[in-house]
Amino acid sequence: MRITCPHCGERDRREFYYRGAAVDLDRPAPDAGAEAWDNFVYLRENPAGVTRELWYHEGGCGAWIVVTRNTVTHEIQGSQLASEVNA
């Protein structure tokens, strides 16, 4: 598997660490309530198809990136720096 880092280009999957769905970027306000926090920390859309997810270029430039990927075919459609999502 090869993943494209916006900084470094296409690199081997071994250089990356996978975290999970990009919902992790949508941190609710502290007082958003139990449901919002349950949604953020635990519940997942978990689609069989295209999803956005967080990878860390641990063995490379250290960027957290949001990868758009298909969970059925493993096709990678694009990637973006996480720092740009909440910028």
Partner: protein, 417 residues
């Protein structure tokens, strides 16, 4: 038909002409008391125990492909009860007891082989953790023995005791752990459920769940609508998609776990051995193939196949631990779709919809749970009450923080369990 050595002999002498179908292929009826979505191990055993222990037989098991085609057909066949947290401990203990009578119960040889499981440890700290686990197992009524390095060497002389990167300190031995023939478990339950009147409907995909005013009414399928008083979702690997039909979002992320089998070899590994530091476990099937696996590929996937980095890390762990298997050749690799939950433990519960039940989140440990899961789920569906050995597998534990069962201590990141 009752199976026995005598029957095999009789059929052999008369040309094997008398064998009959293991199960029927009935047309779906328009209505059942209970519809079980999913004809995998857990769905089939749920149907079996509903019929056997609760006398409920107006049941359909709906399977979109062939029965036993999910993770029960693609695992590494390990059966054990060596958990250390309340919630898990009593549940898996219950399941193991059911395994121990399964062949007689089902009149089907699932080849349950209690050859013993050894979890290796490599430091004082890991020994302490193993001791905590073993003490819980014994206090639950199961068996555990703490092996020192010398005892370990006597049992498993082929491990690398010389220069293993993480030296062997010993192992936690679970004599009643072992393996079983995975497909046979599905077939045995299917046959048992069918014999008791349960309709097993293959090639029948559920496309919708009918809910009126918060009460389940039935399901839509590729073979028409089926009404039901109760509906049970037992579709690990596809839990999110099916639950979404009922408007639910689950604490599950799907991951791929690969496993491997080698060409057949004469007996060389008599136990199940797990090497936690290398995320590696191995046993030898009765056919002679070494069956082994390791960690997840770690990315979300429904592809039921993995990639090379995990393949390599598994093989590397094998070579580190037991260099004698180097000459064994990997014959086949495959992947299963794992329902990974945020604490690594399963969910067996009611839902917010009356009459709709949920069984999911087996992570990579669902095979050994098949008897227990069906048994306690049947109890819940039939009585509306939690089975005494399954009070902790609640869906709401994440929202409330009450009774989270995190054996790995890795927290809410799904793939770390």
């Amino acid at each position: 038909m009752r199976f026995s050595g005598f029957r095999v002999l009789k059929e052999g002498l008369t040309g094997n002409k008398g064998w009959t179908p293991h199960w029927r292929d009935p047309e779906p009826k328009s209505e059942y008391d209970i519809v079980i979505i999913g004809g995998g191990g857990h769905g089939l055993s749920t149907a079996y125990y509903l019929a056997k222990e609760h006398g409920l037989t107006n049941i359909a098991v709906l399977e979109k492909g062939y029965i036993g085609g999910g993770n029960i057909g693609r695992n590494t066949t390990i059966v054990r009860a060596n958990y250390f947290l309340q919630g898990n401990s009593e549940f898996y203990s219950h399941s193991l007891k059911l395994w121990e009578g399964l062949e007689e119960d089902l009149n089907y040889n699932v080849m349950h082989s209690q050859r013993g499981i050894i979890n290796l440890f490599h430091s004082d700290g890991q020994r302490d953790a193993a001791a905590r686990r073993g003490n819980m197992m014994i206090s639950q009524g199961d068996d555990a023995i703490l092996l020192g390095r010398d005892e370990l060497r006597e049992m498993l002389p082929y491990l690398n005791y010389d220069d293993l990167r993480f030296p062997l300190y010993g192992g936690l031995y679970h004599p009643r752990g072992g393996t079983a023939r995975h497909d046979a478990v599905a077939w045995g339950y299917a046959r048992g459920a069918d014999q008791r009147g349960v309709d097993l409907i293959q090639n029948c995909e559920v496309t919708g769940i009918d809910i009126e005013n918060g009460v389940v009414r039935g399901v839509q399928t590729s073979r028409g609508a089926i009404r039901a008083k109760k509906v049970a979702m037992v579709v690990a690997g596809r839990s999110g998609q099916v639950a979404a039909m009922a408007g639910m979002r689950l604490p599950i992320e799907s991951h791929v776990l690969q496993a491997f089998v080698t060409e057949g070899l004469k007996p060389c590994i008599d136990h199940v051995v797990t090497f936690g530091m290398g995320h590696f476990y191995i046993s030898q099937s009765d056919k002679g193939g070494l069956v082994f696996g390791g960690d997840l590929d770690f990315y979300a996937s429904y592809a039921a196949r993995g990639n090379l980095p995990t393949v390599e890390s598994v093989m590397e762990a094998g070579m580190a631990l037991m260099p004698m298997i180097g000459k064994a050749r990997v014959l086949r690799s495959w992947g299963g779709i794992m329902d990974m939950t945020p604490d690594g433990s399963p969910i067996i519960d009611k839902t917010g919809v009356e009459g709709l039940y949920l069984n999911c989140g087996w992570n990579y440990g669902g095979f050994k749970a098949v008897p227990g899961s069906g048994n306690v789920f049947a109890h819940l569906i039939a009585t509306g009450r939690y089975h005494e050995n399954a009070t902790g597998l609640r869906l709401d534990r994440f929202r409330t923080g009450r009774g989270i069962i995190d054996e790995e201590g890795k927290g809410s990141q799904h793939n770390l369990h």
